[in-house]
Subunit: 566 residues, 2 copies
Amino acid sequence: MKIVIIGGVAGGASAAARARRLDEKAEIVLLQSGPDVSYASCGMPYFIGGEIADRKKMAVQTPQSLHDRLELDVRVNVKVQSIDTAAKKVSARNESTGEVYEETYDHLVLAVGAAPFKPPIPGIDRPGLFSLRSLQDMDHIVSWLDKKAKDTKDLHCVVAGAGFVGLEMVEQLVHRGAKVTLVEMMPQILGPLDEEMAILLQNDLVAKGVTVITGDGISEFKEAPEDPEASILTLGSGKVLPAAHMTILGLGVRPDTKVVKDAGIEVTPRGHIKVDEYLQTSAPNVWAVGDAVEVKNPLLEGEMWAVPLAGPANRQGRMVADNIIRGLVRKYKGTYGTSVVRSFDLYAAAVGMNEKMMIAKNLPYSCIHIHPGSHAGYYPGAKSVHLKLIFNPKTGDIYGAQAVGEDGVEKRIDVIATAMQGHLKVDDLADLELCYAPPVGSAKDVVNMAGMSAQNIVEGLVSQVEWKDLEKLAHDDKTLILDVRNQGEIASSGKLAHDAMNIPLNDLRTRLDEIPKDKHIVVSCQSGQRAYYAYRILKQHGFEHVDNLGGAYATFHSIHPDEIDA
Amino acid sequence: MKIVIIGGVAGGASAAARARRLDEKAEIVLLQSGPDVSYASCGMPYFIGGEIADRKKMAVQTPQSLHDRLELDVRVNVKVQSIDTAAKKVSARNESTGEVYEETYDHLVLAVGAAPFKPPIPGIDRPGLFSLRSLQDMDHIVSWLDKKAKDTKDLHCVVAGAGFVGLEMVEQLVHRGAKVTLVEMMPQILGPLDEEMAILLQNDLVAKGVTVITGDGISEFKEAPEDPEASILTLGSGKVLPAAHMTILGLGVRPDTKVVKDAGIEVTPRGHIKVDEYLQTSAPNVWAVGDAVEVKNPLLEGEMWAVPLAGPANRQGRMVADNIIRGLVRKYKGTYGTSVVRSFDLYAAAVGMNEKMMIAKNLPYSCIHIHPGSHAGYYPGAKSVHLKLIFNPKTGDIYGAQAVGEDGVEKRIDVIATAMQGHLKVDDLADLELCYAPPVGSAKDVVNMAGMSAQNIVEGLVSQVEWKDLEKLAHDDKTLILDVRNQGEIASSGKLAHDAMNIPLNDLRTRLDEIPKDKHIVVSCQSGQRAYYAYRILKQHGFEHVDNLGGAYATFHSIHPDEIDA
């Protein structure tokens, strides 16, 4: 059995290692276009910023180490030029020697990955512009920064694209002393999150001195008059940025599948390789894994998506090795998109569908926002976990979740992601039994509270309006905004709306006659819990049209820093 | 509707609050035997040690605050003397005034909790011996410690019982400058864990200067000759401890159910209240929640157990309120026993069945031990997560898990606990999609690795012997112990057995002829991964009887610090 694997990072390396463990006698050839295999691609921003100090750590394996341990035939700096699926062979070119040769296969694994997107913007090939895919890219960025740090007093870097890598690069460039401008074409940073969650990170970036520009793309790079190695960036809006000594292009990735498509292997219009549940492509004995494939979206019957993440790539690689050597024993069930990014002191994590996707697909959904502490409030050091849960208000099925905070963020998303993979519903989140000790949790964990809040909506015990509806409602004569916080809190945190009524929750029962019965009452507090109590009181005292403000003042204020001047 | 609730901490307070939210008009009477309701009982060790500085934080709610927000009729220092389930009334005594009165109910909720076990040991009522159930107990301990710290130079405290509270008290007493002796009757500390996991904590306690005595109970407390307030403890073995200025009795809890049993409500032989899936007791309109009830063990068909933890108590309280007010809408599915404790820098967490229980029940099981890093190895600061997974080797069903380490411990147990609650199997753990970013995870997370290891056993790709079998095997002529670590590692970490053969993994393929084919080969490395690779090589090269050492040298060495002298 001869297995040829194109691509030797996450999915390709995993497939090779598992194949060897399953079959000592297989001939396993790994063709890698660059000089490195199995490198720590997710660690590159941290090496650039200096958090990872040892360059050797970035090359997790070398061709030699893979040969010594796994008897792999690893060939680096080899570009595959074509694939002949009928003759079962690939044509490869050794980029170091220029030699072109053919390699036959019994099974071919396409782990070709995705390449950073480089849009056809005037000046995109100017010096000082970098993408980040390989360790060579990383080394070039470090050299450039080292040189600029010597030559330039006020280093200005632009990061184009506010995705995972973009945000990581912003932080690391700030650590290196640069003034950083983050430019994102979409109206918000970090697309996997919804805007009211992403704004928490954006506000923190601004507080850290980063200039954040959203809803504006780059239309041109021009040589800076004072420095031929610096660039003047003009944005789509006409805005011109101060001369940038470096620009990181973090504009997302595109599947690196030209050779695959040319071979007649089926790809999607966007270039992702089509695979079946066993990760087989349209060509016999050709398999595909990782960033270049389209996978099932397990949350929507019949829907496919592409989710370029290291975890799924690794597991797909392992599965393909099993399917090749042991028969079709492993089915890939789809990718949930579980992910996390650190941005300075904050973590942002997400899984599944976000609200934008639900709206775009015109699906019924409801969402709750909560802001509980990362552990028991009586034990010092708890940090707010801002969590959004998106679910079906009829069935309680969970569509997705997002969380932002300083501590305990990814753990809650891991739990919800696991619950989703076990087809649990919001009822089950309410009942989940999780670890509790004062330094690390609460008797009612954040995830329990999310489940209970959602359960209350599913069961009709509470109803709500969204933060985005509040401005309109505040200007509606038939709506009264009722704030049940204490006066001191409002004075220190801020009001929701100029003419909101304030009755502290503990006074509500004795002051019900101050509230008009014929109006739509929208109740809010700081984080939502007291508003829920107030809702229950009002509904049971004959107020018919009551809603809570989802996420309460905490969510509203993050994205709408001023009170509504109704 | 009138609801009387006996007990106002976790389960009782949750039931009361939810009942009020569901029904504004219900009369809700909460009878609490002590002066405090809804207090932070899990925080008490941390207040004693000074990590929680503000005494007010310990009283999460007060009778007044519960009245103001929830219109609860909270009566503290009230002891229930009897329950008349036919007449639907309780007889209560106000301990402050001596007044005895009757209270009728439509529904009665028993949230009576569990009391610290105080065995009939001679001298158990001596001064300086404390249990820890109430804030008053806590205050007494603090006063005693403050006084002793003034009077005594070398404060010596004994903690009897190495459960959750015992371990927390050990740490906090060390923080307060005491010399601490921990005495545990069972052969190991922290019973929910198995011995090879608990030893990791025990070794750390010893390193922190704590004297740890296991397999020995206290048989007598006697007045110390030099100090009438100090005690001389004699153990069952005859061993006599240095005079103790304080002893904390952390010997577990017993359901506080005398009044319940006297009322003819059905309890188990050990005194736990029997409830059905709606948490109804044997008496009409009488419900029970929390530490005093026996619940389903969801992992074993038909098995019941008692799991005194705050999380389940809280959720049961909420469910009972729903069932009382909205009809039988909530079923309690059982308790998995998800728990965590911090002991100095280590966390230990567990869920489900441990190996001791599996052996006691004579159930088929297999277990794996792994020791991966808490996050990607190339990013600084990763700590080993020592994880044990117990599962059915035929079906892949998960029975339980335990983890110990400095970081990322409870998060992995939360994920596995959620997987168990979603009836996922080891295959699903291998496939779980979890958050990955270099500072907080790995592309193959600890949980994935556990799933993959277990899957390899279920599918017959590897087999193993346990650490406890190694000593016998090392003395067996027909067995060869093969250590595939590098020589340098063995020199610095230690050998498994005097006559173990050493062939580093990377040399194995070329040195196979050195290994006798007719022997039982037991392969080990440091953490298990290389041994697995070696196993696969050996099996495919005609070695028929091969096993890995489960958990490898890391597990073996923790519990067996010296090499086996075969």
